[in-house]
């Protein structure tokens, strides 16, 4: 082992079996106990925010949907809601309801995916395999509705692309029936499996105060009893007509995060059935002009991982002036570094996955300049910086 006084660092990433996407974490350990942690992001920066400035409003729909491979629909929806607000258009009620329906189906698929990944991090591969098998059910439903398994392209500016017929309704009901049974079983497993509880109960406890201070969002925050859910706080799309009941946990540990996410699944099932039963009739799309009136707006939606925030600025042309995205992972990652200290190395992957991180949707240019208030770089300056950066490296 390392000599006394010397730091023994366990690097997790950029390439590591615990991470499905590249990120870099350094954990200083003393034996098995973590004494310090740091994070470095930016390995999958793709320049999407810059790219949207050179595409028109409709093309951006497809680009922004690809920010995240899991919660693709929420990104497109947040963008559409913002652009519609700028254009002064409201999507017809049927379209709004279908948007919510797809968002909830996506939440099911995302939470089941998370359940599997988290179980795998704990070394419980059987639960991983089973939950991913069952996740196929909701993937099939999404494919049947939209034609795609991942990037559904369900949204259009001013509405949605497809309708739901009675045959599809039946297959959704059948699928949800099966999933509800399976989710009850999983809830039973994560709350009663003695060995699994040893790895989740009391691990990574985030108190209400910590959650508030770190600005956590989504199920991670709700597991610490923070009543924060955009679907309830600021209803959008169909959530005004079809209200959601908030699911809260009190313990704030990993077990609470498991329970909150699985209980949210039941809420998804209930909401989807409710939407299917009372799908309002009418058009699927409202007309949106090609040029969006100048102005700026924000739009917020509740992605499966938490609050997704879009800032959209239009200059009156057919391309946006600036679009800024803040994904929930950005808000939650700070908690990993804060919570890791004092835990065992074996608990770290669980704590990391406990916030359901999604690095590629998270990574964008972050420039911190001390003593210089210029926070907006021109394209020329970014390019020059890049050239100099690589020249320095040689």
């Amino acid at each position: 082992m390392a000599a006394t006084g010397e730091k023994f660092i366990i690097p997790i990433g950029p390439q590591h079996p615990a991470l499905k996407e590249p990120g870099h974490f350094e954990f200083v350990v003393d034996g098995e106990i973590v004494t310090a942690a740091s994070v470095r992001l930016g390995y999958v920066h793709r320049g999407i925010e810059k790219a949207v400035e050179s595409r028109n409003w409709i093309q951006n729909l497809y680009l922004l949907e690809r920010i995240c491979g899991i919660c693709s629909h929420t990104h497109a929806m947040a963008y559409c809601l913002g652009v519609e607000k700028l254009a002064g258009v409201t999507a017809p009620p049927r379209a709004a309801a279908i948007r919510s329906l797809i968002a909830e189906l996506e939440r099911i698929h995302s939470h089941l995916l998370w359940l599997g990944v988290a179980a795998h991090e704990a070394g419980f591969d059987t639960l991983f395999m089973y939950s991913w098998r069952d996740r196929e059910t909701v993937m099939d439903i999404l494919e049947e509705l939209t034609g795609n398994r991942v990037n559904y392209s369900a949204n259009l500016l001013g509405g949605v692309k497809f309708n739901i017929n009675s045959e599809q309704r039946d297959s959704i009901r059948r699928g949800l029936d099966f999933l509800e049974k399976r989710s009850r079983y999983y809830l039973d497993v994560v709350t009663s499996d003695f060995v699994f509880l040893q790895r989740t109960q009391g691990i990574g406890v985030t108190t209400l105060e910590q959650a508030e201070r770190l600005g956590l969002v989504g199920p991670t925050a709700r597991a610490s009893n923070v009543a924060r859910d955009i679907r309830i706080d600021a209803p959008y799309a169909g959530y005004g007509d079809f209200p959601v009941n908030i699911v809260l946990g009190t313990a704030g540990d990993l077990e609470a995060r498991f329970v909150v996410r699985i209980k949210e699944l039941f809420e998804c099932y209930r909401l989807i059935l409710q939407i299917l039963d009372a799908l309002p009739p009418g058009d699927l799309q409202a007309r949106v002009p090609r040029r969006i009136a100048a102005g700026e707006t924000i739009s917020r939606v509740e992605a499966p991982r938490g609050e997704l925030f879009y800032f959209i600025k239009s200059n009156g042309t057919d391309t946006p002036e600036r679009i800024k995205v803040r994904t929930p992972t950005m808000c939650n990652l700070a908690s990993v570094v804060a919570l890791a200290v004092g835990h065992q190395l074996a608990d770290i992957p669980m704590i990391l996955i406990g916030v359901d991180p999604c690095f590629s949707c998270n990574d964008r240019a972050v420039i911190v300049e001390k003593g210089n208030d210029r926070d907006c770089w021109t394209w020329e300056r970014v390019r020059q910086y890049g050239i100099e950066y690589y020249r320095r490296k040689q």
Partner: protein, 304 residues
């Protein structure tokens, strides 16, 4: 001449390596089916071994090259030597002498010891943590495992594997008179082989491949062979001691497969234990329960 054949080809040497691969496949396939997966094809372990043996062995900087190359050989040799005293395939062991049980058990520990040393030989943090965990685990399961296998020896009044095997064939009830010993021996074998849930030393989501992270090619293949052989030897010993002995190849196959099925159930049912939980489990429950059973055995033996 016949001794050479027995050592090199059957039932030692090549036969052991082949059966090791077969048992590895059976284990992987069973776990896969229990996890709702398809699982590997029958020749997958062989293909893996051939591929690894053919690959370049990268020796990282900062290691003792002699140890790096030598440890896998010693590990495999230890496992193969242990098999010499064990009734592999239901046949008579190649060699036998009073007290060979202890020799066999020490030979089996050699693999773990070599894995630990191999990990601490490198400068890679994953390997170092993995080696620490491997050795920690060694110190936690070794004593209960040893005590559990000595239970039948005590009942048989001999520390010679052949004689215990003979004794077990006439005393079918050993499984029921020493149930704790049976469970501890089986679970101890899982700890020895670092199978889930005792795979903290090679927990891939934390420390990649643990102590063997830096190994590639030939060295890794030899370690894998060693582990497979140890699986066969371990299963044979537990079956011979606790499941009414092994008298024929058919009995050998049936009984070891039955044990393997049990192993795969435990593997797929449990979450990985943290290393502190593993140590706690063995010393707080395993060792104490086996000692309690020993006390009962000695007391009842004194009465009878």
């Amino acid at each position: 001449m016949s001794e050479m054949v027995a050592l090199l080809f059957f039932p030692g040497g090549l036969f052991l390596l082949a059966s090791g691969l077969a048992y590895e496949w059976a284990d992987r396939k069973l776990v896969a089916r229990l996890q709702n997966r398809i699982g590997p094809r029958w020749f997958q372990p062989l293909a893996d071994a051939v591929k690894l043996l053919a690959k370049e062995e990268v020796i990282p900087n900062g290691v003792n090259r002699f140890l790096f190359v030598g440890l896998p050989v010693v590990a495999l040799a230890g496992a193969l030597t242990a098999a010499v005293y064990v009734p592999i395939g239901g046949l008579n062991p190649i060699s036998s002498f009073p007290g060979d049980l202890i020799v066999a058990l020490y030979m089996l520990s050699l693999l773990t010891l070599c894995t630990g040393l191999a990990g601490s030989n490198t400068t890679d943090p994953f390997s170092l943590i993995g080696a620490t965990r491997t050795l920690t685990q060694l110190f936690s399961y070794e004593v209960p495992f040893l005590l559990a296998l000595l239970g039948p020896a005590l009942a048989a009044g001999s520390w010679q594997i052949v004689q215990i095997n003979d004794f077990a064939q006439n005393h079918w009830m050993m499984l029921f008179t020493q149930p704790i010993g049976f469970v501890v021996a089986l679970i101890g074998l899982m700890g020895k082989l670092e199978l889930p849930p005792f795979n903290a030393p090679e927990a891939e989501t934390e420390i990649v491949a643990g102590a063997l992270t830096e190994y590639s090619g030939r060295g890794l293949a030899l370690f894998h062979f060693g582990r497979n052989v140890e699986l066969v030897v371990g299963l044979t010993m537990v079956a011979a001691f606790y499941l009414g002995g092994i008298a024929s190849p058919l009995e050998f196959f049936g009984k070891t497969m039955f044990l393997l099925l049990g192993l795969s159930f435990v593997q797929s049912l449990m979450t990985r234990l943290r290393i502190d939980q593993t140590v706690g489990l063995w010393w707080r429950y395993g060792a104490l329960l086996v000692l309690a059973q020993w006390l009962l055995l000695i007391l009842s033996g004194g009465v009878v």
